[in-house]
């Protein structure tokens, strides 16, 4: 029979241990995991990007519930262990569940330190430790206002930047004179304070909190020098302490944490401990790399590796704030017997300091350019004598030994046991072996197989270079396809960052995200213009010069440079007056060709650019508006005759189509968007090859999505059936808004639905009623701001006249 292994704690250290056990000998144990949080195992160090909006919770899950199931691990999430019977070898959970163990692992992690000041229990005082804290902060940030973060260390600063990104006015209160004093020296701290202040944060150093003020709810904070700060949210991020409550009750030896030996054994037989709850050789750890190292060693030792032993760790840290590159490692306090090498570039805001002792690196602080952090740490761990490299050491690995800055050559030159992923302790040979033995070709695959770059992601560049070096020509680009040659960012990241960082204009996006071209190209500019318009419909000022010619002049350019004009006919309906006006326009401007389109409209071809405003003026006079046949926008709603006329019709398709088109016309979308309404399942309006199709049946309307009649014909996927016209409108609006917010520019709904999956669309539009109503409301709000006939102003000569007149005519 298998041995029973029980893990108390579903966090990163505990699960790293389990992963190692599964890797070494998956059949040795029956594994049961208890977690106090009602969640799967997620990447706690990535809570900061979730708070700032740069990542979602789903993206930081390390092991999904399927993983537990697939590996036959029993997970009790949300059920904390409250008692242990060492004699009977059982654990008891809060729910009353009792489970026997042969081996037991404490991975209870740590608790945030709460400073004992008056008011610490008020509503509005939160810590920054788990997903619940993040949810609380995000909820508080929704109503805006002021926040005070107590603690200017790693966590406190990440919380502060995150809250600022969510629109709050943030002050950081720090007891010491330098921020992140355990990781940074004064000079780097100064640069960091300047950077944070330039982002609108306030930083108070040497400030000691005396009390948190408020009656039931936080209203302010008082410092011991008498100053008070108004605020509605206080985040305590002053540090963590090992969570030893249960271990103490059970009678394990406790110092600052649960005391363990080099094999991570506690004072009781068959009970082990890993992670932040541990005290090892007098040291406690709060950074991910040593925790993972412990997990790896315990996993190996529990599967029979006699050599596995933990000897302590060199730690390095990196601040996870987008655009701030801070890195430190080792001991950089300096002092007798040490030498400093310092490099400063004030204009670029770069500061590097290496602390040497006996020709070896003892500590490193990097600010503004932390690319070589891993290299210095490796030399620190290996105790490399740097006297030969000394002249160029501070310039980084690319210049080591006088060789030139070829990153691939540098990676190739790394030793096999050089550590690439500090978080997970993965060295070069692990990755190269995984690539060659498993035929890996992408960063994601390397992540999946080795965990390299799966935690903080800081080494993903190095891993990609390793892929390139190992595969040679077989390696193609990174996993996230950049938007275009002007940036390394992919579409999805750019969209998320526009919202997260509150960016309001194309130049701002290019500046903040470090575009490599001065003003983009014809590929990224229209995309950025759309993303900004979609994010800020009420306030964004459309950049005409970033639109393609068709959308700039609201007509379709043809191969001879003339344009075609399509007036809107809602639901494909027209009448004598409109047709007469169109006929008059054709005569008056000698329009050479008139055609009925596939979308049930009339297209007037061969109009010169100079004629456009006059043509529009006549069409406007007859009550017609732009048909947007030229735009990445709602094109047409095609209808059949429906129950009004057709003997088979079950619902009034024409009326439904007109209402849909009235609601949606003039909306901008990632690509063109077409709809159709058929009055019965004979489907004469061809609704099943539209972006959104409605087919009426006796009892209501069947809705389907993601159809396309283009090069690759795709039939729609059935979404759901609804009963009323009002529901059709709500579902259509919500679906369009979801597409508007999530699809990449120039991605039609068909590939979009295939990419994100119909399940995703169903979950958002059908299953989540409040979510659907919010999407629909956002769609209507956008329409409120942007639905207007672009022809009108131009026909009256009050907008963009320069587009329709030559600069000069010379004989």
């Amino acid at each position: 029979m298998k041995q029973q292994l029980v893990i108390i704690g579903n966090g990163m250290a505990g699960m790293r241990t389990v992963e190692e056990i599964l890797k070494k000998d998956a059949d040795l144990y029956d594994i049961t995991v208890f977690g106090a949080e009602p969640r799967e195992n997620y990447n706690r160090i990535m809570l900061s990007p979730v708070l700032s909006g740069e990542k979602t919770y789903d993206e930081i899950i390390i092991n999904t519930r399927e993983w537990y199931r697939d590996n036959a691990i029993t997970l009790h999430a949300g059920d904390a262990v409250i008692a242990i019977d060492k004699a009977a070898k059982t654990v008891t959970a809060a729910s009353g569940l009792r489970v026997p163990y042969d081996k037991l692992i404490f991975a209870t992690g740590s608790d945030p330190f709460i400073i004992p000041v008056p008011g610490k229990d008020l509503d509005g005082v939160v810590t920054f430790r788990d997903m619940d804290d993040v949810d609380q902060m995000l909820a508080a940030a929704k109503s805006g206002g002021r926040a005070v973060v107590i603690g200017g260390g790693l966590l406190g600063l990440e919380a502060a930047v995150g809250l600022k990104a969510n629109g709050m006015d943030v002050t950081v209160v720090h007891l010491m004179d330098t921020l992140m004093e355990r990781q940074l020296d004064e000079a780097a701290s100064y640069l960091l304070v300047s950077e944070l202040e330039s982002r609108g944060l306030k930083v108070l150093t040497g400030a000691n909190t005396k009390a948190i003020l408020g009656d039931g709810k936080v209203s302010g904070l008082e410092l011991d020098d008498g100053r008070t700060l108004d605020c509605s949210l206080v985040v305590m991020a002053v540090g963590i302490k090992p969570n030893v409550t249960l271990a103490r009750e059970v009678g394990l030896d406790i110092g600052r944490g649960v005391q363990v030996d080099d094999l991570l054994r506690t004072s009781a037989p068959d009970i082990f401990a890993v992670g932040e709850c541990v005290e090892h050789r007098g040291a406690t750890y709060g950074l991910v790399a040593p925790l993972f190292e412990m997990g790896k060693i315990l996993g190996a030792s529990l599967t029979g590796d006699a050599d596995a032993s933990f000897a302590g760790s060199v730690t390095s840290t990196k601040l996870k704030v987008t655009g701030v590159d801070v890195f430190s490692a080792g001991d950089f306090s300096g002092g007798e017997g040490t030498e400093d090498i310092v490099f400063r570039d004030g204009a670029r805001g770069v500061y590097k300091r290496l602390v040497l002792r006996d020709d070896k690196i003892e500590g490193a602080v990097l600010y503004g350019d932390a690319a070589d952090g891993a290299w210095y740490v490796q030399m620190m761990k290996d105790g490399v004598n740097i006297s030969d490299l000394r002249d160029t050491l501070v310039f980084g690995q690319a210049y080591a030994g006088g060789t030139q800055a070829d990153p691939k050559a540098a990676v190739m030159a790394l030793a096999d046991d050089a550590e690439i992923c500090g978080c997970n302790g993965i060295c070069k040979s692990d990755i190269v072996t995984a690539i060659t033995e498993n035929g890996l070709t992408s960063l994601d695959e390397v992540k999946a197989h080795t965990k390299a770059s799966a935690s903080c992601g800081g080494c993903s560049g190095l891993v990609e270079q390793l892929l390139a070096v190992t595969l040679g020509d077989g390696y193609e680009a990174q996993t996230v396809k950049p938007m275009c040659g002007c940036t390394d960012w992919g579409h999805d990241d750019v969209r998320r960052l526009i919202v997260a960082k509150d960016m309001k204009s194309i130049p701002e996006v290019m500046q903040e995200l470090e575009w490599t071209t001065p003003n983009g190209c014809s590929s990224c500019r229209p995309a950025l213009n759309y993303y900004l318009l979609c994010a800020w419909p009420a306030t964004y000022v459309d950049d005409n010069q970033s639109r393609f010619i068709n959308e700039r002049v609201h007509a379709n350019i043809q191969k001879d440079g003339t344009f075609s004009v399509v007036p809107r006919m809602f639901g494909g309906m027209t009448n004598a007056a409109e047709l007469r006006a169109i006929a008059d326009v054709v005569d008056k401007f000698a329009i050479p060709a008139v055609k009925v389109t596939g979308g049930q409209r009339i297209d007037l071809f061969g109009i010169t650019k100079e004629q456009l405003p006059a043509v529009w003026a006549d069409l406007n006079d007859a009550g017609m508006v732009s048909g947007h046949a030229y735009g990445k926008s709602l094109r047409t709603v095609k209808t059949c005759a429906g129950s009004t006329w057709c003997r088979f019709g079950t619902q009034d398709a024409i009326d439904m189509g007109i209402k849909l088109e009235q609601m949606t016309w003039g909306s901008w979308t990632p690509h063109k968007f077409k709809m159709a309404v058929s009055g019965c399942p004979r489907n004469c309006a061809e609704a099943t090859i539209k972006d959104f199709g409605v087919i009426a049946v006796d009892s209501g309307y069947e809705l389907s999505v993601g159809g396309n009649g283009g090069i690759v014909v795709r039939v729609t996927d059935f979404l759901c059936k609804v009963d009323t016209e009002a529901e059709v409108l709500e579902y259509a609006g919500a679906y369009m808004q979801l597409y508007r917010e999530e699809a990449r520019y120039l991605e039609r709904t068909a590939p979009w639905v295939e990419r994100v999956g119909l399940e995703h669309v169903t979950a958002r539009i059908v299953d989540d009623e409040p979510g659907r109503k919010e999407l629909h409301a956002r769609f209507l709000a956008s329409q409120e701001a942007l639905q207007e006939d672009p022809w009108a102003a131009r026909a009256q000569g009050t907008k963009d006249n320069h587009e329709f007149t030559p600069l000069k005519i010379v004989a």
């Binding site: 010069q545 440079g561 320069h802």
Partner: protein
């Protein structure tokens, strides 16, 4: 023959206007830094009106098939090949002057 054709402010930033001449339409471009360039308004690929394209850096993307043309030299930027004919420009105190040939020689010189 040098001719005054208008001022910088007559052309939108990152945009273009057309000058109609006996030898054919001329596209006059304005970059983000207010530099002015002029080309015959015809893409070497299929004759698309370059004046209708998106201006970026010192290049314009043809509206028909997104070929990119260097505004300084008129050369097509890789991977495609070809050249649009340039027109000499001088700017003095906001006023733009073009050296317009009496008769257009050919559409391309590449």
């Amino acid at each position: 023959m040098w001719m005054e054709i208008g001022t910088i402010s007559n052309i939108p930033k990152l945009g273009a206007r057309v000058v109609k001449s006996a030898g054919g339409d001329i596209a006059v471009f304005r970059t983000a830094d207010d530099e002015i360039f002029a080309l015959y308004d015809s893409c070497p690929h299929n004759g698309g009106a370059l004046s209708q394209g998106i201006v970026h850096g010192k290049a314009v993307a043809c509206p028909l098939h997104n070929w990119n043309i260097d505004l300084v030299t008129g050369d097509v930027l890789g991977p495609d090949n070809g050249c649009s004919r340039t027109i000499a420009v001088s700017v003095n105190d906001e006023m733009i002057r073009l050296q317009i040939p009496d008769v257009k020689a050919t559409g391309t010189n590449g």
